[in-house]
Amino acid sequence: MITMAQALNAALRDAMKDDERVVVFGEDVGALGGVFRVTDGITADFGEERCFDTPLAESGIVGFAVGMAMGGFRPVVEMQFDAFAYPAFEQITSHVAKLRNRTRGALSLPMVIRVPYAGGIGGVEHHCDSSEAYYTHTPGLRVVTPGTAQDAYDLLRDAVDSPDPVVFLEPKCRYWSKEDVSFARGGAPMNRAVVRREGKDVTLIAYGPMVATALDTAEAATAEGWDVEVVDLRSLAPFDDETVTASVRRTGRAVVVHEAAGFGGYGAEVVARVTEQCFHQLHAPVLRVTGLDIPYPPPKLERYQRPDVDRILDTITRLQWHDEPVVIGA
C-alpha cells in the first residue's frame, strides 16, 4: 500500500529511468522533495541535472520548460499550488497550448505541468483553488486528474509519454490516501473515463478529489435503495463522451460533482454535452453538485464548500423519481 504522493513519485522515477530526456524542476522540488514530497529523494537519486530547484517564478518555470522541450527534453514541472500557477497563465495559454499548431507540428511540446489543486487540507487562502476550468477551455492542452493512487501512477506515466502538453491536476486531499498500486501500466488509456462502480439508477460523474466522495455516496445510497453508478472522468480534456453517455443512457439520470465553483465550472460542460447527446434518454435534468460561487473558504469553513455525501444524496433525491417537475434556483 502506498500513498498517492508515493505513486506519483514512483511514476516520475520510472519515467526518468525509461527516458533520459525526462527532467523534473520547479520550486522546492530538489532537496526538499516538494512541499508535498512528490519529488522526495529524486534529486539525491538522479542528480541535480535531472531534478532541480528553480528560481521562484512560475511563468519562468513554464517558459523555461517550453525552451527545454524545444531543445529535446521532456520537462515535468511543478507548480507549488493551484493559485500559484496563475502567473504562468500566459505561457500556458499562448505558448504551451499553441506551439505545435503555430509550427504545423514542426515543434512539439511533450511537457507536463503538475498542479496540486483543490482543497480539503485545511489550507489558507490561495492554496485551495480548483482551477481546472481555466485549462480545459484552452484547445491544445490535455488536462487529466487522478482520483486514485493507481491512476496517479498510470496517468502520470502516460502524461510524460504524451507528445502533447498535459496539465496534470493532483487532488491534494488524496495525496495521503493509501492503496495497492501496480506499476505494470495496465490501466485505461489517458483519454478514457472509467466506470468505478456499476449501478443502474443514476450516474454520478466525478473526478479528482471527488471520486472518493462519489463512491462513498454510492455506498450510502444503497440504504435509500438507489443503485448508483460512478464514472471517474480521469481525462477532463478531451472528454470521453463514449463512456459517459453510455452510462447515462443506461441509467437515465446523472449528477455531476466537482469541488470547483459551479458557475462556469467544468461541470457545466459535462451537463451540456450529456444533455445534447442523451436528451431523450434523460428522465430529469442533469444536475450539478459543486462548490459555492465564492472564493474558497478558510480552513474552519471549508466543509461548507465541498460537495459531500449529504449534498449529493439530496441532489439525487431531486432527480424527479416521481415525475414532478422541480424548479431550481429560479
Binding site: 520550486e27 522546492d28 528560481p55 521562484l56 500559484f84 489558507v124 465564492i294 472564493p295 461548507y304
Partner: protein
C-alpha cells in the same frame, strides 16, 4: 532622461552596518545618521515583544490553534524597523512572514492572526490601520504598494508605502513590474527586501546570481541600498533615509537587508531536509536582539532592570495572545456570502439560503 547618474543609484559595498555581530560599534557609514537612542530603545522593546509573540504563535500551531505560522525569528530588526519608520498615515504592505512588523505597528495580535487561525479575512481593517492584508501570492503586493503610493502622491498626501518582499519573491515578474512602475511614476514607495537566505528550501545562490539584490535598483533608475539586516541600528538608519527620500518626492528606493530565517519556513516545514543546522547556529551568533541589547548596554542606554521589564511586558503580551486565540469564536458560514460582492448577487443569495437550510436541518 534619467535624473541621476548610475553611480548614485548603486548600493553601498559592503552593506551598511553600525553595530558588529558582537555588539560593538563599527565605523559610521557616510550618509547615514545614527538614529536617536530613544528610538533604539523603543526598537529593542518591540523586538523583544515581537520575538515573544513569534514564539507564542509557533506554539499555538502545535496546539492546533493556528492553521499555520511563518516565523520571523531572526528577522526582528527588519520587522520592527518596518513599523517604526512609518507614520500612522503611511501604508505597510506585508507578506505572510511579517506578523511581527504588524504587531510592532500596534495591531491587535488577535487580528494579526485571524487569517492564520482559519478565518476568511485578514482580521484588521486595512483602511484604518493602513496595513494591507498580509500577502501570499509572492511579489503581487509590491504593485499594490506602488499604485497606492502613486495615489497618495496624486492626492497631495505626503504618505509613503513600504512594501515588504522576500528574497525569493524578487524572482517573480511582479517584483520587476512594480519597481519599474514605481521608478517611472516616481511613486513614494520603499521596497524593502528581507533577504533571509531562503525561499522555503531554496538557498539564495539558486535564487539569484546577483552580487546582491540591491544591485537591481540601478536597472530601474532607482536608488538602492543594502544593509546588515540583523543590525537594528543600521536598518533603522537606512530605512529612515529611504522613507525620507520617497516622502520628499525624490522617487522610490530599493533596500535589501541581509538577514536569516532562523526557524523553518513555517511550522509545517522541515528545514533539516535542506540546510545544515551548523549554518543556523552560525546565524544565531548574529542574533539581532542580543546585538542591539549589547550595543545599548555598552552605551548605558539600557539597564538590567529595563531588560527584565521588557521581557515581562512581552510575557504578558504573549499571555494575551494565548487568551485571545484560545477563546475561539464561532465562525458563521453564512458570512461567506457577504463580501464576495458589495451586494450578494441573486445567485449567492440562493446559495446562502441553501446553506442556511442545511444548517437548520442539522440544528433542528
Amino acid at each position: 532622461m534619467p535624473s541621476e547618474t548610475p553611480a548614485v543609484l548603486l548600493p553601498s559595498e559592503p552593506p551598511v552596518r553600525f553595530v558588529a555581530e558582537d555588539g560593538a560599534p563599527v565605523d559610521r557609514p557616510a550618509g547615514y545618521a545614527e538614529p536617536p537612542v530613544e528610538r533604539l530603545r523603543e526598537a529593542y522593546r518591540l523586538m523583544v515583544l515581537g520575538r515573544r509573540f513569534d514564539v507564542q504563535a509557533t506554539a499555538l500551531t502545535k496546539q492546533g490553534r493556528l492553521a499555520v505560522y511563518p516565523s520571523s525569528a531572526g528577522q526582528e530588526a527588519c520587522q520592527v524597523a518596518s513599523a517604526l519608520v512609518l507614520r500612522a498615515t503611511d501604508w505597510l504592505f506585508p507578506t505572510y512572514r511579517d506578523s511581527v512588523a504588524l504587531v510592532a505597528r500596534g495591531l491587535e495580535p488577535g487580528e494579526v492572526l485571524t487569517l492564520l487561525r482559519g478565518d476568511a479575512h485578514c482580521g484588521y481593517d486595512p483602511a484604518v490601520t493602513r496595513v494591507a492584508p498580509q500577502c501570499t501570492p509572492l511579489a503581487t503586493q509590491a504593485l499594490h504598494a506602488t499604485g497606492l503610493a502613486h495615489a497618495m502622491r496624486r492626492r497631495g498626501d505626503d504618505g509613503i508605502a513600504l512594501a515588504l518582499v522576500g528574497d525569493g519573491a524578487t524572482s517573480e515578474g511582479d517584483f520587476h513590474e512594480a519597481l519599474n512602475f514605481a521608478a517611472v511614476f516616481k511613486a513614494p514607495v520603499v521596497f524593502f527586501v528581507q533577504n533571509n537566505g531562503y525561499a522555503i528550501s531554496v538557498p539564495f545562490e539558486k535564487q539569484s546570481a546577483a552580487p546582491a539584490l540591491a544591485y537591481k535598483g540601478v536597472g530601474y533608475g532607482m536608488r538602492s541600498e543594502q544593509v546588515d539586516g540583523n543590525d537594528a541600528v543600521a536598518v533603522l538608519a537606512v530605512l529612515d533615509a529611504a522613507v525620507e527620500h520617497a516622502r520628499a518626492g525624490r522617487g522610490p528606493v530599493l533596500v535589501e537587508a541581509h538577514t536569516y530565517r532562523i526557524d523553518a519556513h513555517t511550522n509545517a516545514d522541515d528545514a533539516t531536509r535542506y540546510r545544515d543546522p551548523a549554518e543556523v547556529e552560525k546565524w544565531r551568533v548574529a542574533d539581532p536582539v542580543r546585538r542591539l541589547e549589547t550595543y545599548l548596554r555598552a552605551r548605558n542606554a539600557l539597564s538590567g532592570a529595563e531588560i527584565e521589564r521588557f521581557a515581562a511586558e512581552a510575557e504578558a503580551f504573549a499571555q494575551g495572545v494565548r487568551d485571545t486565540i484560545n477563546a475561539e469564536p464561532e465562525l458563521d458560514p453564512l458570512s461567506l456570502f457577504e463580501h464576495v460582492y458589495a451586494e450578494p448577487t441573486r445567485q449567492l443569495r440562493a446559495q446562502r439560503a441553501q446553506v442556511a437550510a442545511e444548517l437548520e436541518a442539522v440544528a433542528g
